[in-house]
């Protein structure tokens, strides 16, 4: 409750500090406008026509089914990798041998370009939802796995020793010693993985499916409709920015707060 109140009290200042981010974004739009002025609307439509097209897509109702399909695939793959990555990473972190063994494997997973997985997935799953979901899963899994692994590996043994000396009940041991530490590693990994999922799913859809934002991008590309292309890109990036700054970042600040206090 106290945490919630502290969070609510800091919220207006946090939201207000968003003006700085908005200022940077607006400067980016100015640069975008300048590029479109130099190269012409066929190469780069100006921001207003891209947003106008996006508004048209939203108002006509054409945008929602595509965004929903993309979100469904991204979130399914993401949920699978969060579950598998967190669990396996935590378990691997408990044993020195397991973490030694898993590191090279994770490096292999991280090093394989998502496009290679996509080709494999297209062979295995065809044009079904399985292709983007699998690609998202494989791209996001190592990020979360590494976070979870480090979370358990870096547990403070002295802190655990002290907790044991005080005969902390197992439940308190979990919620007060292990959880805050592990979550502070896991959470940033989850956020990074969400960004990856969101990008990879669009790429997978572009090549492998008939609907979703990626497929819509493929269509607008074939029509040489750069305004629609920019509109879809703006929609995807805008959604990611909104989720990251309005939902995840405030939570992350709360989760990581204890570290700053040197607890």
């Amino acid at each position: 409750m106290r945490l919630l109140r502290a969070w609510a009290a800091g919220l207006p200042a946090y939201l207000w500090s968003g003006w700085g981010a908005i200022a940077s974004l607006l400067l980016f739009f100015a640069a975008w406008e300048a590029v479109s002025l130099v190269y012409g609307p066929l190469v780069m439509p100006d921001p207003r026509s891209a947003f106008g097209t996006l508004l048209g897509l939203v108002e006509s109702g054409a945008a929602w089914p595509e965004l929903a399909a993309t979100a469904r695939r991204a979130l399914t793959g993401y949920a699978l990798s969060v579950a598998a990555g967190s669990l396996l990473g935590l378990l691997a972190g408990l044993s020195m041998t397991a973490s030694m063994m898993s590191r090279p494997l994770v490096t292999v997973l991280m090093g394989t370009p998502p496009i290679a997985w996509l080709v494999l997935a297209m062979l295995w799953f065809g044009a079904s939802d399985g292709t983007p979901v699998f690609t998202v899963f494989v791209a996001a899994f190592p990020v979360i796995f590494i976070g979870a692994l480090q979370g358990t590996r870096t547990l403070d043994n002295q802190l655990r020793g002290m907790a044991e000396a005080f005969r902390l009940p197992p439940r308190m041991m979990f919620t007060d010693v292990y959880l805050p530490h592990v979550v502070s590693y896991l959470f940033p990994a989850w956020i990074a993985a969400l960004g990856t999922s969101w990008k990879v799913v669009v790429m997978a859809e572009l090549l492998a499916t008939q609907d979703g934002v990626g497929a819509a991008l493929a269509v607008s590309r074939s029509h040489l409709d750069t305004a629609a292309t920019m509109a879809w890109i703006a929609a995807v990036v805008g959604l990611l920015l909104a989720v990251e700054y309005l939902v995840l970042e405030p939570i992350k600040r709360e989760v990581e707060r204890w570290r700053e206090h040197g607890a």
């Binding site: 700085g20 908005i22 200022a23 100015a30 100006d46």
Partner: protein, 434 residues
Amino acid sequence: MNVFDRLAAKPLFMCSFRPFFLVTAIYGVALLLGWLGFLAAGVGVPAVPGGPIVWHAHELVFGFGLAAVAGFVLTAVPEFTSTAAFGRRVTIAMLLLWAGARLAFWLSGAMGSMGEMLAALLNSGFMAALVVLVAPRLWHDPERRHLSFLWGLAAMWLAVTGFHADVLRGVYPMPWVLAGVGMMMVLIIVALSRVSMRIVNDALEAERLRRAAQYTDGRTGGLSRRPDEDDDELLDYRARPPRRNLAIFGVALYTAVALALPGSAISGWIALAAAAAVLNLLNDWHVGRALLSRWALMLYTVYWSMALGYALIGLSLLGVPVAPSAGLHLLTVGAMGVSIFGVLCIAGRTHAGYALDTRPWVQIAAVAIGVAALVRAASGLPGAAAAGLQAMSVVAWAIGYGLAAVFLGAVFVRARPDAGTGCEEVMEDVDAKA
């Protein structure tokens, strides 16, 4: 004693801000009354190159505005850099230069190219003299913490010189006045960051005392203090450089791009970015109830006018049907008008040996100037009764600066009430006697 020495011995020339702030207030009223005459009957404005609107803009930014800037800088720079105040001779020479520049510009239409040349020399020379006077002190200051004033003043000199160069070339010179407005906004941000440290922290101190008093009352009256009140103890206000620098960057970039590519959508986005950056600056200002005190609130509204002004300019450049002059006048009448009024009240009184004014005329004048800004901006909205609203705005402005001329003028021409002999702030012995 010759005439000059007798004049220089008057209290009015005890410190540089005194004559400059006095002419700021008087000239502010006179210019707008002349403008009202032009709006109503087409009289009251001298013929200058570029026409009446150029006269109106040039004199308000480079005449009225720069008089206030000169008064502030000539007083504040010696204080900030812990160097000796500028003497009475410097003050009188600068004032004569300023007055000569005004006269030359007013007559520049009637005197032909000779007049234009003279106006260029005197106006550009006034700004150059100001830069030359303060540059060594700002530069030799050990940490060079106040160099931003120097860059702002130098850019302002460029705007003044650019204006007159265009007049001499026969080009429409208005873009340079707009650049001057941008530089004025930068100087306001820089100056207010210094002034606000004191004003907002004074307000916070008053708020702490109020809370402490409430606490004692609560104890004697049997009421207990809210248990969590210790948690939100009032922290000191700091005008943090990163946010300020972002705001200055946004405003300066807009000014430069608007000068290079007038009317382009690129500058529209940058104007919106400048508005967001100025709003971002206000994060430092959200200190709770202390913000509602008279002086803090006055300075706070300066930033709001600035942000809304740039937002309206940006929207207008991006095709929203708002007259570009609506946003511009929020910057000039609102941000510049209110901040100059605030500086006149705050710096003007404390450096003349008086405590801050607590009389109600201050609120009336500040509200009048704020109303002038809002009404002038509203006249640029689609479907507004422009002429009536503009006349109303002029009258409100004249009331605000008229009150300033009367109440502050009395302070500026009078000797100090304490033992001070120059620009010192209120001296302690007065408090002891009182």
